[in-house]
Symmetry: C2
Subunit: 699 residues, 2 copies
């Protein structure tokens, strides 16, 4: 049975080590200044002791935050240079349309092909966002190699290229940053374990990973609080307040460093929000507007259901369809290039891109959508014309096209980006999918806000004072509601405030997010759960409260009664037979196969070792004087681990589900009067929960 | 063994009920419009089914939020009327000093005496904040009567009087609101259970209480997000994301309603923050100021340690000291009046109160401290004089006293309020202790901010642009840091932003809160834990990570081996002997006292019932023809509940601690090969953890 963690203690041989050091120092005493060197060595030892004290890993959390902030900043810097180069190239080509088209399309094609090829050639784990896999790891399933540091380079380089494609491909960086951060956390954890020893255990690793997820989000947006909350909501079903504090600390260090670097790089005068807005905070919105905010939440909820459904369908389709499946299996870069070509052709500014503000980067998209002016009013000014280059002071002009007005532009953007976003998620390169959702949601909100402003040009209450409507506030609510409902989180509301540096719209935004989430959670699994389902990763569904029958289901009804047991006195043949016929990771050990009294359990690796040594023993003839070796039974020669937790046949499904979720269990044995009578693993739990919808199948 | 919850299912006798209803309708058919009435009845049934669907309790969360918002608003309204009356009385008395003194002191004395007397006469549970007790309840310990609805009236009336004492007594309403909210949640839960039946279980109650705590905080400040986070941090060590969502929903409903009422009452034009500030958000603070924010955090941390230590000491002292102990035991109102007299005499405006801004209410205190102006600069204007009444436009004038300057006023306020706050916490009336901490912290921050502004009159960086320092930002950070470190929470940072309606200072405030918390958590238990310790409520300390030895401690070393067991075949005498000699709530049942094979457990109440029936059987002589009754053994006549979770002797202390915390266990049996060999309850856990500090006592 695997429980939350089993601790093994190994006393550090302090005395022996000191003795060895003393001798070494004596041997090397011909070197100059032995005394000084000894002092320095002592100081270093002291620092090491301070840094690597058991249970005290604040330093690591601090470093984790700072490292991630540096990576995030460096990546942003590189990406902005790369996309400036692209912009410059596109400008310099003048009016030659074909050259312009080529420069517009080839750049993202090349980058996405390189991103896919490079990352996939190093490791297949570096593609995609990484959050679904990390979520699986946090439930206690060890995905081998997923947190290996060699993914790191692949993911960093790949992600930089992906981001440099800019708003053509329209992908973000949150997911990969969570993955990067976890890799660094796992690596720091290994360093720590190598120094401190194995006092610390698996639960410590989980703590570190939880903090890492928070840091990942926080360093992308410079938003510590929502970083922590978002990672919690996405990653786990339960969490410890202690982990929350640790995540908070690490995320704050990361976010602070990230914003500090922006100041040092003279991007900003002081530490402020990433997408600073300028809403009027004295009268942010009128009371009846709350209704429109809730309508907006409803629209976002419905659209998110459609998005989730289509995304899951397409993800399955490209795996089923023979052509795309073949491309994805063998020529991933070609698939990426083809998708990039399609997306780039559509966003080409002289064609459809003209109506979709495609010259803006994603950051500019967001800044323009959060604009505090009402575009409907601005566009009534006749003397408007779009300049050949993007005007950073009037970003909204990119959305203004006289033939279809700003309402048309926004609507076209929403329609086209809907399937473009979904298509982009099928590209097998390192990429995040949160930021596009956030921008898309902001566009939904902007459209609704502009329509409301058009309907009520003088505000809603007209008792003397004119309080015009701020469509930017709707954009904020839309961004939070859409991204929140797709990912099934509420903390996006807070994220929207942290990135814009104001909190005046708090109540309407939260209402919109709640409405959107209520709709999305009712009808669709979240974006990350959907990916887990499509990728067939281990997954424990939650028990829906509408299944009343669930309260009467006990472990007896769904436990697995066909499983291999080994008697304490089993010899070579029995063990060999069991090991070859099953592939469990651990086996229950019983007193005898008749009594079935549970004694403990043994790891498969231990059994294999047992078989190997006994095999040798059988092959090499025993010498006469030698003490008989390796003829012992399993009970004599194997380490039998104690069982720390056992269920009874009357444990209810709810309780068992709770235990599995809380303790990250993988498999538990069921005993009755000491006899082992069954085993419950995640697959049995999953089946039992799925059977609830169809109660006839249950005994 | 008590586990997280045991579910019993009772099928609703639907068919029988419908039949009965049909007959009733037929019998009553002489009444007019039987068809219409039947339709209406059908509709009502349908509504009831919708509202009381098992597992679907969103409506209850909504009502909980709305009810608490109404109570909070009504209380604020009443309190403001009461304190206006006091203010008016004080003004009208003109220059007669004695009358003024009497009016100043008698009002709070009378109110606090009434508050104490009224609430204590109804129920002794209504005193204090209620958070420590609720925290204990959420660990699974049932404090009888604590959530009974009869406390409700006592607490509401008492709290209103307490708050009406205003800034003289300086107490808040957060804690009692959490208690009130939980009472309502428990009451709504009872209503629900009476309709739905007992499908739902103890864990459902806990879910409701967690949401209630969030609602309590949210409706006091109109701050939904930090309400949820604060309640989580204070209440639990682990929590489910599902609970967080539910809390969020309920708290948003509450906060929205609370702010909505303020608009309907024409206090505000639209929904905005409670203490709206006016900081410049373009350049909220300069980068080097971060250092001062961290220093401020350090100061708050040190002061909070001093506060916690002194508070715990005084709370113990008034219970030890014979005079105060006697007063508190028999004449609680007199104790309250004496304390109120002392506090009111000190804050009397013509005496020391003149230097402590004692004419301001607590809300005005906070508004003045968050002022965006620099008092140091304002006070250089010579033509300043305090008006006879508080000037709402220039609240800061109350802090301005030429003889000691604003720095002196703030310092005096801090010194005097330090012990006054602590003294006020010993008063046995319904009162919250969070708001005073928040105001005190804001004063610390203001003082530091004013000093920094004095030291750097032209801002810190002086490269051309003058960016002056905003002491209001420091007040914000101080409020968050001090209240956060006393309660060991980080979400006070978010609270500070939600109540002020801006978030520009987010990073420095979080840094200050982190520094303050790091200091406070290192040296002192939190305010609520301290109260739990002093009140000797059940409490499970956390395992400090610096105790390396904790990893090697197993259940075998600390389990209780002396506990009563009952054999399945035990008769009247054995049961009687066990029940009279011990007072456990549940007893393990074994196959036989020799084998000690654990079969299940039986509740004490069940045993008592068994004894009673068998007692009767012995007393009343059995009639010859009658079937022999009640001579059965325990196994025949008692309901033996199955054991759902058992530990093994090798379960580690960490794992056991985790299980106790996660599943709210009270007592678990330890089995080895099916034999029950020990029991672990919270007291054994507590002892084992305390022994870690003194490792010699462990075997």
């Amino acid at each position: 049975m695997a429980t939350a963690g089993s601790w093994r203690v190994r006393r550090e041989p302090h005395a022996a080590q000191e003795e060895a050091e003393r001798i070494l120092v004596l041997e090397e005493s011909w070197r100059p200044w032995p005394r000084t060197r000894r002092t320095i060595r002592g100081c270093l030892e002291c620092v090491k002791r301070q840094l690597f004290r058991v249970g005290d890993d604040w330093y690591f959390l601090f470093f984790l935050g700072v490292i991630m902030a540096l990576i995030s900043f460096a990546m942003d810097f590189t990406v902005s240079r790369l996309s400036n180069a692209h912009k410059w190239l596109y400008q310099e080509l003048g009016d030659h349309l074909l050259l312009k088209y080529l420069s517009w399309t080839i750049y993202p094609i090349a980058l996405s092909a390189f991103s896919t090829g490079f990352s996939q050639s190093i490791t297949p784990h570096s593609g995609g966002s990484g959050i679904p896999e990390l979520k699986t790891i946090l439930t206690g399933v060890m995905l081998e190699e997923y947190l290996a540091i060699k993914n790191f380079g692949a993911k960093v380089v790949g992600l930089t290229c992906t981001l440099a494609c800019g708003s053509t491909i329209f992908l973000g960086k949150v997911g990969p940053f969570v993955h990067l951060s976890s890799m660094i956390a796992a690596y720091l954890g290994k360093i720590r374990t190598s120094v401190v020893g194995e006092y610390e255990n698996k639960s410590k690793q989980t703590e570190m990973l939880v903090a890492a997820a928070a840091v990942g989000v926080a360093t992308v947006f410079g938003a510590p609080i929502s970083g922590v909350l978002f990672s919690i909501e996405v990653m786990s079903s339960h969490f410890a307040v202690r982990d929350y504090w640790r995540g908070f600390f690490s995320a704050t260090c990361g976010a602070f460093m990230f914003r500090l670097l922006a100041v040092f790089n003279s991007e900003q005068e002081t530490i402020t929000a990433l997408f600073k807005t300028n809403f009027k905070i004295d009268f942010p919105f009128d009371l009846p507007e709350t209704f429109f905010f809730m309508v907006l939440g409803g629209i976002c909820g419905i659209l998110s259901c459609a998005y989730l459904f289509c995304q899951r369908w397409l993800l399955g389709y490209v795996r089923r369809n023979t052509i795309t499946a073949k491309l994805l299996a063998t020529d991933k870069p070609i698939y990426s290039s083809l998708v990039a070509l399609l997306l780039a052709s559509i966003t080409f500014p002289p064609s459809l891109g003209h109506f979709m503000a495609s010259r803006l980067s994603m950051k500019e998209h967001l800044t323009s959508l959060f604009d505090n002016q009402t575009w409907g009013l601005l566009s009534q000014n006749a003397s408007l014309a779009r300049s050949p280059q993007v005007d950073p002071e009037n970003l909204w002009l990119e959305w203004w096209e006289p033939s279809i007005t700003i309402y048309g532009s926004l609507a076209l953007f929403l329609v086209m980006k809907f399937w473009m976003l979904i298509l982009a998620t099928t590209m097998p390169m390192p990429a995040g999918y949160f930021m596009p959702l956030f921008v898309y949601g902001a566009a939904i909100g902007r459209l609704v806000g502009e329509v409301v402003a058009f309907l009520f040009p003088h505000g809603i209450q007209s008792d003397g004072v004119v309080n015009t409507i701020t469509p930017g506030g709707y954009a904020l609510a839309g961004a939070a509601a859409f991204s929140g409902s797709v990912t099934h989180t509420l903390s996006t509301a807070l994220l929207a405030f942290e990135v814009t540096g104001q909190i005046a719209h708090i109540l309407p935004v939260i209402l919109a997010v709640l409405v959107a989430n209520a709709i999305a959670q009712k009808f669709q699994p979240s974006f990350y759960d959907g990916t887990i389902i499509v990728k067939k990763l281990p997954y424990l569904p939650r028990i829906r409260s509408r299944h009343i029958g669930s309260y009467s289901v006990t472990t007896r009804q769904f436990m697995n009664t066909h499983f291999a047991v080994l008697a304490k006195g089993a010899g070579f043949e029995e063990v060999l037979q069991v090991v070859t016929s099953t592939d469990d990771l651990e086996y229950p050990i019983v007193e005898s196969t008749e009594s079935l009294m549970l004694v403990g359990m043994v790891q498969r690796t231990e059994l294999v070792r047992y078989l190997q040594t006994h095999d040798e023993a059988k092959l090499s003839p025993q010498e006469p004087g030698e003490k008989p070796r390796c003829n012992g039974t399993l009970g004599d020669d194997c380490t039998i681990e104690p069982i720390t937790l056992q269920l009874s046949p009357w444990t209810s499904l709810h309780q068992a589900h709770n235990l599995f979720e809380l303790l990250n269990l993988q498999r538990v044995f069921v005993t009755s009067l000491g006899q082992v009578i069954g085993a419950v693993s995640r697959s049995e739990m999953k089946k039992a929960i799925e059977d609830l919808a169809n109660p006839k199948t249950l005994k």
